[in-house]
């Protein structure tokens, strides 16, 4: 049989990740404000409240600002992210379940 050459259109896509600079690391948590995003999964609040207690008691975090997403499946609202970025020194985002 003869060999026939074909060109196929690739049906897949690849992720295009823009360049970004990560935030500067903070030298200590003592006396700083922590932001926490609760994803609304069952028991996420239990896990994150416990974590906040540990960080306050062991690392002397002085203030915690909470945001709870309306749905675990929705990305966090950029307004809320900007709000946390303006007010917090560090943040925890996590999937609880």
């Amino acid at each position: 049989m003869n060999t026939v050459n074909y060109t196929l259109i690739n049906p897949t896509t690849t992720a295009k990740v823009p360049d970004f600079n990560g935030a500067q690391r903070i030298p200590t948590l003592a006396g700083t404000t922590l932001g926490i995003i609760d994803d609304s999964k069952r028991n996420a609040d239990v896990l994150l409240e416990e974590l906040a207690d540990v960080l306050i008691n062991r690392y002397e975090i002085s203030n915690v600002i909470w945001h709870k997403k309306p749905s675990a499946s929705r990305p966090a609202d950029p307004k809320e992210i900007n709000n946390l970025a303006a007010k917090c020194d560090s943040a925890i985002i996590a999937i609880g379940d």
Binding site: N5, I9, P11, T13, D38, S71, S73
Partner: protein
């Protein structure tokens, strides 16, 4: 043998009958054989819709991906579509990439949603979409390949690969193909597209992130049929009757949307408007607090009043996508709960550009 880059792949085929094997080699299939998406077949589809291929149809920002018309055409070719089906695939892709549909949720969730594609309007007859017997079953090229195209777009262009971003626990057969037409021209009821703001003489698709259909085998009397449909729709264990993953706890359960298909002879419903059917169903799709406590959806011990206190599984009658569709021989129905609450994904309708 093949050589790939991001946009094209060069292959050499010895035996054309085995050409579909390239789909397995490159990981492009849903498990079934595909039609190789050759450049000339993809061009034929794009030309049918007067597109260059570079148009961005939508994005999934969370996965940093842009979906062009060329990628959608390639997947439609692979699924076995004809060029005249492509406008439907394109509109359905556009609809599921709308922000309110939040594709990242239903395409990744443990909940295992399939994307139900509901077609309305003159295009149903023009390209031969089935809206009657064997509604969700096999046997019709347009339904089978349009539905399959959407799954291939999800897997290939949207990265919803099983085991990778698609984390379905059980999934369902609709994840291979899930496309139906509504037989609205055979009833006095308005089509779903008309209810959702598209003119009745235009064609449209509605996409709905959904669980599998459950048949309701009730016939003969409208009230009795609706009672049975509502009973099936009120099941424990659907997405609607569970809690969790939403922050609004005022109702205590997630609620959501539900599609309902009603088949048979439309004259049975001559005295009923679509709205009346939806309102009747809405008032009956509910579950007692006692049952929700037994299922541990609600916490706490059951008290006497819990047996008589009911929680609606829907927020509004308009959260029912009511469709006249299915075989003519019997008034069988189906209920299809949404994958999630409306805050996580809402059905989206887009007009088909012809």
């Amino acid at each position: 043998m093949s050589e790939s880059n991001q946009d094209t792949t060069s292959i050499q085929i010895v035996d054309p009958i085995n050409s579909f094997e390239i789909g397995y080699e490159l990981g492009w299939t849903d498990g079934l054989p595909i039609v190789p998406p050759t450049d000339y077949k993809v061009s034929e589809f794009l030309e049918y819709s007067n597109l260059s291929g570079d148009e961005v149809v939508g994005e999934i920002p969370e996965r940093r991906r842009e979906i062009t018309s060329r990628k959608i055409a390639a997947n439609a070719v692979m699924a076995g579509c004809l060029p005249e089906y492509f406008p439907v695939v394109l509109a359905a892709s556009k609809a599921m990439l709308e922000p309110k549909f939040n594709l990242v949720g239903p395409s990744s969730s443990l909940g295992g949603a399939a994307i139900l594609v509901i077609v309305n309007g003159p295009i149903i007859k023009q390209i031969g979409i089935n809206s009657r017997g064997n509604l969700f079953g096999p046997g019709n090229r347009a339904n089978a390949t349009i539905g399959r195209s959407i799954r291939l777009v999800l897997m290939n262009a949207c990265a919803a690969v099983p085991g990778l971003f698609d984390r379905s626990v059980i999934g369902h057969p609709g994840k291979f193909s899930y496309c139906i037409g509504e037989a609205h021209s055979e009833t006095h009821w308005p089509g779903l597209h008309e209810e959702r703001g598209i003119s009745s003489d235009s064609s449209a698709v509605t996409v709905f992130a959904a669980e599998a259909p459950r048949q309701v085998r009730a016939v003969g009397d409208p009230e009795a049929i609706l009672y049975s449909i509502a009973d099936a729709a009120s099941s424990l264990g659907t997405s609607l009757s569970t809690s969790g993953s939403v922050s609004d706890k005022s109702v205590g359960i997630r609620q959501g949307e539900i599609a309902v298909t009603i088949a048979g002879d439309s004259s049975l419903w001559a005295q009923w408007t679509k709205q009346q059917v939806k309102e009747t169903l809405y008032s009956q799709i509910k579950r007692s607090v006692a049952d929700l406590k037994k299922a541990k959806v609600f916490k706490g011990d059951i008290v006497e009043s819990d047996e008589h206190t009911f929680i609606p599984l829907l927020e509004s009658p308009d959260d029912i996508l009511l469709l006249f569709a299915g075989g003519e021989e019997a008034n069988f129905s189906s209920v299809i709960p949404s994958w999630g609450p409306k805050v996580a994904s809402t059905a989206a309708t887009v007009q088909i550009e012809l």
